[in-house]
Amino acid sequence: MAELTELDAVELRDRLASGELSSVELTRAYLDRIAAEDGAVGAYLHVEGRAALQRAGEIDTARLAGEELGPLAGLPVALKDVFVTEGVPTTSGSKILEGWRPPYDATVAGRLKDAGTVLLGKTNMDEFAMGSSTENSAYRVTRNPWDLARIPGGSSGGSSAAVAGGLAPWALGTDTGGSIRQPAAVTGLVGHKPTYGSVSRYGLIAFSSSLDQAGPMARTVLDAAVLHEAIGGHDPRDSTSIDAPLPPLAECARRGATGDLKGLRVGVVRELGGEGHTDGYEEGVLARVAEAVQLMEGMGAEVREVSCPSFDLALPAYYLIAPSEASSNLARFEGMRFGIRVADDGAHDLDEVMALTREQGFGPEVKRRIILGTYALSAGYYDAYYGQAQKVRTLITRDFTSAFEDVDVLVSPVTPTVAFPLGTRVDDPLAMYAADLCTLPASLAGLPAISVPCGLSEGLPVGLQIMAPALADDRCYSLAAAVEAALDSARGSRFLDQLTTAGGAA
């Protein structure tokens, strides 16, 4: 019989609901695995050991008493450390917030609490979500459970390593330029970046406000859809929140798994790994994605190539817009109201204390982006850099709009390579940024995009990206479920079962 920590979240939910499994038993199974494995994996920054067991016990008691419980009652969950959690340490991967215990919950953290979940802990991340390998964390290295010498992706690399490594049944991440999809791809998970504005940003420590979006990271498409439904929907406390109901995502995932794609029009984006655009892409990645596209065709989809010429400029536009917004957002970390303060010895005035606190509290990538953003927003350079990048953003949105006149979804690789070895890109910002090449267009246009595993290359997971028009997140889930079901059926097991049998960390 499979270990509890290998089961899908939906299966666990059903066992909890029927009473055949207690939340204490399940939570303890996860805490035991974390105690045994997380020293090597490094997924967590903080583990809620006793508090998690206490909450699990309260839920079990309430269930026995016949009280009405939330839809996910008793299910453990892990949160990326970018979400503020009342009374639970929250750092955003930065020394500048070391020791801070927020006085309130992010909306999504509150919704998960209301749904009855048990918080296992907070997961590691690149500092302020800036990075694609989690190596920019100020605290620890996180390793990929498929190969401990490789990166788990980033910035939500603690969440990806936790779920792939069986240290959480599922987790939340955030995606600004690919930080859910890329770590999901390189660890063999399903990760979805929702339509911008469809999941609340309230209580999410801001990196780039016009791009940041929270979303699920899970073992299966259905799990991801169920977690997404628990956190999504309008929030009056986020003024960019869309006041529209979510599509029925879990239902679409279930229906999608039946595999009938007749009439679905799929566009393969030439600029993301297609002809003339293969520089930097690994052959194994392109091959797995091409096979997934053939698979869709076999299930009845109409496939055609689509050209989106402006996508070539997504990377430069993103690396102007995101640092510009970050340089402004991170001004709030000045050592006065929360976090650390240094050199407050009477000899230094306010400006000096702020500058010394920020010098000590921020790591190199954060400093680089603050400086680049400050430059791009400076008088004399604004039009050529930030302003120009915003216009390129419009061109990218237009390319999507015109593509979606002819197709229902667009597909591409999630990232050009499989997980790269730790340490190989950390001192070369441009090489690190290249990991985001395929995920940036949907981020800039605010569109939903999912990463679903589509095979292995050199024994490491490859992710297929499915992008859809705004608010059509259901199309991502539905097609991803079809691909997942077809591949699982051909393989005879779930994607992550390969990791268990390969004798990795899980």
Partner: protein, 104 residues
């Protein structure tokens, strides 16, 4: 204006100036390192200048929303002691900050 200014490279002095503007007390070593790294990044991002953007409006936000208002009703805020508990220094129920003005 769509072409980046000529000689837009970021030198050591520029980095030092930008660091002062953004309240970062960078070390000498960081100034050297960042000058090289950011020079390369700036060359890459300057590619946006290649786009033909005549008559293209900028996108500030993926979802166009305007004037999101709420009812003008006072709602409770966080308790003062809870907020101050997270501050690096507090005194007399307020944030304590270093002096703002010099001696002269």
């Amino acid at each position: 204006m769509s072409t980046p200014p000529a000689n837009a490279a970021l030198g050591r002095e520029d980095i030092a100036h930008l660091a002062r503007l953004s309240r970062l007390a960078l070390t000498e070593d960081e100034l050297d390192r960042f000058a090289g790294q950011l020079g390369a990044v700036l060359d890459a991002v300057a590619q946006v200048g290649k786009a033909d953007v005549a008559d293209v409006d900028p996108t500030t936000h993926a979802v166009p929303l305007t004037n999101v208002l709420r009812a003008d009703v006072a709602t409770p805020s966080l308790p003062r002691d809870v907020v101050l508990a997270g501050a690096p220094a507090a005194e007399d129920d307020r944030f304590r900050v270093p002096r703002i003005l010099g001696e002269e």
